[in-house]
Amino acid sequence: MSTLIENAVCTFCGCLCDDITVEVDNNRIVKTKRACANGRGLFMEYDATPRKPLIYGKEVSWEEAIAECAGILENADNPLIYGLSSTSTEAQKKAVELADRLGAVIDTTSSVCHGPTALAMQTVGEATCTLGEVSHRADLLVFWGCNPAVSHMRHFSRYSLMPKGKLVPNGRKDRRMYVVDVRPTASSKVADHFIQIKPGSDYEVLTVLRALAQGKKVDVDQVGGVAIEQLQQLVDHMKGCRFGAAFMGMGLTMTRGRDINVRELFSLVSELNQFTRFSVVPMRGHSNVAGADQVMTWQTGYPFAVSFARGYPQYGPGEFTAVDLLARGEVDAALIVASDPAAHFPRGAAAYLEQIPTIVIDPEKNMTAKAARVFLPTACCGIDAPGTYYRMDNISIHARPVVTSGRPGDEDVLTGIMEAMKLC
């Protein structure tokens, strides 16, 4: 007989949709309702069968694997703890504690995601709001360098474009939507206005928008391949709306300029509050990457790229960020939690992981795990383990398990490693 579990949390992306119905039969997920393709894949394709850890690809007991991890970390002079974006805040806290005790460097996937956004935020602040406010109030949406129709599939329907809110009772009809990007996307197809800019010109375009918003005259006809009239129209809509929300993605953080692109957008949004209400929300990708920033900031004072080598937290983007450390060969062991740098880092950095003892804690045997010395297959939060996650707007949501598996959680394994090292 099957059981329906209502309001389950999908821990795939930063939307953290908490309205999913999961049908479970004999401790197996057989159906989901309301999940997008990504969420459905997360629930339906996950195999919760308990698996043994691997050392050099050979199955071992959990005791042997934990002892091997403790040995690797004890013998390392400068270990790196990296990842954390797809695990619970409880496990993230434990990872920071481990880094502190080891004198290790700890960095999260933020450094190759919204790390530049954090740098911009530290410079000019962030005028932000919750997705609940967006769904009930926003009559102007600006998506810059992001493609939620593909990356966050329920963002439009659940939070931004479609919902019928208290102050936008007609939903889509009450909202105007802009997309700014270097190429047409699935998101630009549903927008009212698409502004296609030249690659690498985000900073210039945003600077001109700031000038136009302040009523200044610009003595050029176009910037970044966009006519000034088109940018003036965007500014008029921004200043004339009741509640505007900008969403920004990797189009700003991964291109030339990085944090200064984001700084210009954040500054524009702050300045628009002289005329109306305007907010910005970074489109966080992995389910709990926002939580990783939160936990790192509570525990160390900094959101990512922290070294405990001197016995206290030191912040160093470019110095203590994982890509830089691996590319320079400056770490001698790595503990990777809930991420896959072998798939997502430039080859010049990822290749170094194969030269040092690497430990991977993850529900799936990913590409990093394939070449790791130790792989510890853990439970997946929201499916067979509980855990707290932070949505992209920094709202915390507790994910309950929908099946039981007997797999240990990431927090349990990290605690086990600390106990084996007599750090607890």
Partner: protein, 92 residues
């Protein structure tokens, strides 16, 4: 992605490049044919597909294939240039 990164579906999804119709005509390449892409970091050979892209712009899904072309310089920020870098294109 949910079927694992060793699955054929994942490998096929990340081993491709999208190019504008105009550029494909200029290079005399048909859809599905392999092209050679290279940067200072490395070179790769991947099948090309028509994409709704401006002239001289290529799109590749993030993954281990595209990342062979990405450099490790982060400009002191921790973030490599995953987007907006120059790539040379040749028929193999």
């Amino acid at each position: 992605m949910h079927k694992g990164k060793e699955s054929e579906a994942y490998i096929r999804a990340v081993t491709r490049v999208d190019m504008s119709d105009y550029d494909m005509n200029q290079l005399g390449i048909n859809e599905g044919e392999d092209i050679l892409l290279y940067t200072l970091e490395d070179s790769i050979e991947v099948p090309v597909f028509k994409g709704n892209l401006p002239e001289s712009m290529l799109f590749m899904p993030m993954g281990p294939v595209a990342n062979r072309l990405v450099g490790v310089d982060t400009s002191g920020k921790g973030m490599p240039s995953y987007k907006g870098f120059l790539v040379e294109v040749e028929r193999p």
